[in-house]
């Protein structure tokens, strides 16, 4: 009975199979495209050092670009993974909260009513902390609604989805606040030769992974997500745990918002974080996590986030405009989730079994 699993069976059971396969496919498309067009087929993977006037010698290449641009989605995906796991729901406010955090950060740094500045009105750290704090506050608000008032996550976060961006606009006095200051711009540019967002993402992922492995939080979150009542009887405080995941999600949204604001050295309330909640949720789903909560796989979500960015970057490279890209994204998403759908899996299992039966008889 206890037969050794074949390599193929092991591979099938690997939780990261889907996101990794998706990522490999995207790379393959790049290689083929480059080869067909007579470019170096591996230009996708080429990383070079380039001299720029603004930032000195920096790393350059499509992979670096994907890692850089995918940072916000990856950071959001961390928080989203935890939220999905603990509460079987999604936080759709993260994009809006990003925008609010960027607004608060920029206004703190520029001063209320100022539309453009090169000088910081307050120390950089104050602005950054203000942005992160407002993110946490938003997360706490969502967490309170979900954990204590027992409101469905989507409805609860719909409130800030609608309001946060607008509040940001109010804070900015209906202006786009520009903070053209290299100190502030740092979070969106380079640290040495490496883009800062990549470093920040790496730190966020590392800290989260460390906390999850060195504490029992991971088990707690999954346990609460699977059966909150039973977890309570077993001594877990499910409310606190759910609340905490939302707060973390808000925290990460704050960080992502500041990075995004720093990239464009402004608080553009109407555009920062637009549709980012969808990318984050997609990353979680792509990572092989069930949106029904419970078991989670952080690495999957992160790979998922970068896969989405890789798809976007590839589409741009293929000459698809940014407005049209969603069509392809939609088709890809549907294919990915459809092959994972239980009825489809059951169908293939049945067909394989039938084939095996035929083979046996023959």
């Amino acid at each position: 009975m206890a037969k050794e699993k074949t390599f193929f069976e092991k591979l099938k059971a690997w939780p990261l199979l889907l996101p990794v396969v998706a990522l490999i496919l995207v790379m393959a498309v790049n290689i083929i495209y480059d080869a067909v067009n007579g470019n170096n087929p591996f230009s996708f993977f080429t990383i070079t050092l380039q001299n720029t006037t603004a930032n000195g010698t920096v790393l350059y290449g499509r992979i670096i670009d994907i890692l850089n641009r995918g940072s916000e989605a990856a950071i959001l995906a961390i928080g989203m993974t935890l939220v999905v796991s603990s509460s079987a729901g999604t936080d759709i406010s993260v994009g809006s909260v990003m925008s609010l955090a960027a607004s608060v950060c920029c206004v703190t740094l520029a001063g209320y009513g100022v539309s453009s500045t090169t000088e910081l009105a307050r120390p950089l750290i104050v602005g950054v902390l203000a942005g992160i704090a407002i993110g946490c506050l938003c997360g706490a608000f969502n967490g309170f609604l979900v954990a204590h008032l027992k409101i469905q996550p989507m409805v609860a976060t719909l409130i800030l989805f609608t309001a946060a961006r607008s509040i940001g606009l109010l804070v900015c006095n209906d202006l786009i606040v520009y903070v053209r200051n290299p100190q502030f711009g740092f979070f969106g540019s380079f640290f040495g030769p490496i883009p800062t967002p990549i470093i920040i993402t790496a730190i966020c992922v590392a800290v989260t992974a460390l906390v999850l492995s060195k504490t029992a939080l991971g088990t707690y979150i999954q346990s609460v997500g699977i059966n909150a009542k039973a977890s309570r009887i077993a001594g877990l405080n499910s409310k606190t745990i759910i609340f905490m995941t939302y707060m973390l999600c808000g925290l990460f949204a704050g960080i992502a918002g500041i990075i995004n604001g720093s990239r464009i050295t402004s608080a553009d309330s109407n555009n920062i974080g637009l549709y980012m909640e969808l990318d984050a949720i997609l990353a979680v789903a792509l990572g092989g996590n069930s949106l029904g909560g419970g078991k989670f796989n952080l690495a999957g979500s992160i790979i998922g986030a970068y896969t989405i960015q890789a798809i976007t970057t590839t589409l741009y490279a293929l000459g698809v405009s940014s407005a049209q890209a969603p069509v392809y994204k939609a088709v890809i998403v549907i294919i990915i989730v459809a092959i994972q759908a239980p009825p489809v899996k059951a169908y293939f299992r049945k067909r394989n079994a039938a084939k095996a039966a035929v083979a046996k008889e023959a």
Partner: protein, 340 residues
Amino acid sequence: MKKTKINGNTLLLLITIALFVVMYIGGIAAYGSRGFSRLQTFLDILKTNAGLICMASGLTVVMLTAGIDISVGALVAMDCMILACGMEAGIGAVPMMIIVILIGLVFGAVQGFLVGYLEIQPFIVTMAGMFFARGMTAVISTDQKSITEQINPLFYKLANIKIKLPFGGYTNRKGVYMAPNISVGVVIALLVLILIFLMLRYTKFGRSLYAIGGSEQSAAMMGLNVKFTKMKAYILSSFLTSIGAICFCLNTMAASVQQALGYEMDAISSAVIGGTLLTGGVGNVIGTFFGVLINGTISAIVKTNGKLASSWPSILTAALLFLFIVIQSIFAAIREKQKG
């Protein structure tokens, strides 16, 4: 008549209606001098939101099955773009409207199949639908289109039909009697509303939607065809959205990639304020109608004031959402306590 006990859901609907009345009276008290008290102001709210009423009705149907459809806003943009481009290319208004409705049916059928038969989460499916429709709009054209009399006289005429009402008019400063009027879109929207209300209450399909929302497993055990019913709900949603898109287009006479951005959330918040639960099984289009009216009234008040920042309507909507959600959760807690 048998005495019926008022349950929590009915009470919630009454609160929604009361809130609308209070808010509207507040608007009249504050801006009566600027014409807020006229019947026409109310009718204009209906006119502006005719499309939203259709969309939100469809969404309510989907939400009853514990699903969600966030593709509606993008579908409106795509439909409007198809209408505008088609008419620009010289195709008549009627064929174009039929085409748009057919597209809605197909769009809904695909989404419904994915949700009903492949059991993929509705949020993901309709999110993909939203990406697809929004992107497709850009594929068709990234221009700002507007439909003028030259492009299609029939559509233009349809948009400008004013159906005069025999009451509630006023005499303006020049002494001319202004009869209140409604547009074709409003008539369509109200018809949709009534039909969906009747469908939910008096047809097998309508009751099956509630049953599935109440307990999908039970509905299946009781021999209902859950998969097909769900699929039909999504078809209906996209169908009504396409009708809504026509109403919307009649009102704006324009099309662009950015059109109806965020309308899905307006529709969802209208339904939630109207007492529809996202967990399914509870809700009604009448509530949704008042939800739309509340949202519309907020916008109208902010517009009439003229000085408030443009971000206020969404903040106020969010505040209302918060209020309603808290009331709902208190009701739920009370019910739980009574039972336990």
